[in-house]
Amino acid sequence: MAKTDIGPPDYKTMLPPVIQKNYGKWLYHEILKPGVLMHISQSGEALYSIRAGSPRLVSTDHIREICDIAEKYCDGFLRFTSRHNIEFLLDDKDRIEPLIDELKNRGYPVGGTGHSISNIVHTQGWVHCHTPATDASGPVKALMDEIYDYFVTATLPAHVRIALACCLNMCGAVHCSDIAILGIHRTVPKVDNTRVPNVCEIPSTVASCPTGAIRGDMKNKSVAVNEEKCMYCGNCYTVCPAMPIADPDNDGISIWVGGKVSNARSVPMFSKLAIPFLPNNPPRWPEVVHAVKNIIEVYATHARKHERIGEWINRVGWERFFSLTGIPFTDQHIDDFDLATETFRTSTQFKWR
């Protein structure tokens, strides 16, 4: 029988010699050009990391191609980044350009460093999950095609980190992204009274609802949803499969902006609602692509250097964000969940637009 609990392969065995020697002794780094990092150690030795984009949903053949490249230029050493990019690790400066050439020839974008748009963290969508309100890989591909130049250059005021999650579970942890793309349902789950009694535990289904919209329906040994209180999060469906919520006509995407994770300059921030709804329009989600690009361009035009999207908005104000982007403000932008009052304006300090 196979051994269990052995854990992952020891990372120490995966490190290229230049890292093994200089582990913990790095002194500084420079971004030589988009996608090319140089780290210099106290010993004077250099490590070069060449970052290439990835669709994340990759075939084994694709991975083998990456391996081929790594073996050819990097003695077989590479890593993935926390945003799904590929980093080729080498210590021979002369191999950088040939490597980049080969990557380009094979269609790999090189970039994602510095003030660029890096890869979009995303999730399963229609490819594998049971609760998506949209696809993940599709909108990401359509959008990256359109904002490709921001990946291979570093011309923005600061990093722009985009993430997509296909439902409110937010596996892509989009809640702290410069721009978040979030799949949403907009209609209440349909309770299947014939199946609930068999497949669902009533108390945990009732407890699953953030807004208390579900109550037990004793007569049917089922549950009932109060349509006025339901905001379509789908959590009941996670707990109780007999309450499907997907709705081809009304599912779609919302856009959130201004989050960040780093502690640099400003503290970490949640993303905030920019656009409550855009339709699912496969295969290329033009409304979504257009909306995100507009936000990026308005930001690029107006923000100061080193200002993340949220920092820019905090400086100029949300009034200005909405007037500059032309995005309509609606009552849906105003919070009505538990901490809503904390978001209401408790001051006469605001701008007219």
């Binding site: 992952p8 391996c67 049971h130 890989s137 942890a173 699953s208 994770v261 970490p268």
Partner: protein, 395 residues
């Protein structure tokens, strides 16, 4: 391509960004599961709806986690994805690979699964995307022989992850990789056998830039920092002065405005510095974190379901972190024990603390309240007193 059966997806082969559709087609050429997957996805594109049923529980012997069960809702049309479970494989810490190891993973997956993967999933596992129920055990056996193990799923400790840290980054204040690997190995049982009220995530970033989004995406966040003064190399400051506007780009953006630049000397009032990393980020050759290094420990981060998203909260402003990390592990265990004892089913740590109060949590895990834990003290006057604070009642 004239009569492609995936006309919608074909549109996504166009464009400059690498196409997942190309990869799916590549896999589909040799694998029937991949073939049915892309056909089912095309149907989703047409219908604007997913075609997977609500997941079922499947797994490998001895484990309760690591596999996500999945079944098509149109097995009539796509019989090869009737069952299409993913396996979560724990990547080497920091996602470092030597290609021979990575190739082994590919070979195993070609043998047992669809040949499609996510490199990586958003928790950090290698996601092996789709196999049948009866391949699961065999696949696991092969993975195990090749030195791989599964990651977490369900109400378990999830695969911990770490930033690249000291392997490459000059700012690492802690050994994020070693800490992450140590925790991963210490808690194999908790990863593989769900025993908690809900999922529990740990992520380690070796400095406040937080390159693994630890503060946003983990129940327990470990973030490197330092206690003493930023190290300044005055020579290099001058070099930067010729390339960037130190006053505007560095000093004016310092959140505490604790830097003074007179065109020659850079003075940092370290007692006011909150170690945000900004100045260091901009001038890595001139400024470095201090020498007394350690980590801030935070808890509670999570996505919105159920009670709203949370960013992690500081509970230990500074902890030295050196192997065997006993202080850290003891804290983790005290926290998990308390959570385990008091948490309702599907209640994340942050939600439990919210429900019972930080005061109760701190007392239970034996931590002292300090101002670093809050942005500001309470504004509402609903203050509890412990019984021992109160004078005996006079009858």
């Amino acid at each position: 391509m004239a009569n492609s059966d995936t006309p919608l997806l074909d549109e996504l082969e166009k464009g400059k960004w690498p196409s997942f559709v190309k990869d799916m087609k590549q896999a589909a050429q040799k694998n029937p599961m991949a073939r049915d997957l892309i056909r089912q996805l095309e149907l989703s594109y047409k219908d604007k709806i997913g075609h997977w049923k609500h997941g079922g529980i499947v797994g490998v012997r001895g484990y309760g986690s690591g596999v996500i069960g999945r079944y098509s809702d149109r097995p009539d049309l796509f019989p090869n994805v009737q069952a299409f479970h993913t396996m979560r494989v724990n990547h080497p810490t920091g996602w470092f690979y030597k290609t021979d190891t990575l190739r082994k993973l590919c070979d195993i997956w070609d043998k047992h699964g669809s040949g499609l993967t996510n490199m990586h999933g958003s928790t950090g596992d290698a996601i092996l995307l789709g196999t049948t129920t009866n391949h699961l055990q065999a696949c696991f056996d092969d993975l195990s022989s090749a030195g791989f193990d599964l990651g977490g799923s369900g109400s378990a400790l999830r695969t911990p992850s770490a930033c690249v840290g000291p392997a490459r980054c000059e700012w690492a204040c802690i050994d994020s990789l070693d800490i992450c690997y140590d925790i991963t190995m210490t808690y194999q049982d908790q990863i593989h056998r769900p025993m908690f009220p809900y999922k529990f995530k740990i992520k380690v970033s070796a400095c406040a830039n937080d390159c693994v989004s630890s503060i946003a995406r983990s129940d327990l966040s470990i973030i490197g920092t330092w206690k003493d003064d930023i190290q300044i190399n005055p020579q290099e400051v001058l070099t930067y002065a010729s390339r960037i506007n130190i006053q505007k780009e560095v000093c004016d953006l310092c959140p505490t405005r604790c830097m003074e630049w007179n065109g020659r000397d850079l003075k940092i009032y370290n007692e006011d510095c909150t170690r945000c990393m900004h100045c260091i980020n901009l001038m890595p050759k001139a400024l470095r974190p201090g020498k007394e290094k350690g980590a801030t420990i935070l808890v509670g981060g999570k996505a919105p379901i159920v009670k709203g998203a949370l960013l992690s909260w500081v509970i230990v402003p500074f902890m030295k972190l050196e192997p065997p990390y006993d202080e850290l592990k003891s804290l983790i265990e005290r926290i998990q024990d308390w959570w385990d004892e008091n948490g309702k089913s599907r209640e994340r740590l942050g939600e439990l603390i919210t429900r019972l109060g930080m005061r109760v949590f701190l007392k239970a895990v034996g931590l002292q309240a300090v101002p670093q834990m809050v942005k500001a003290p309470r504004t509402n006057p609903y203050v509890f007193f412990w019984p021992e604070d109160i004078k005996k009642e006079v009858k």
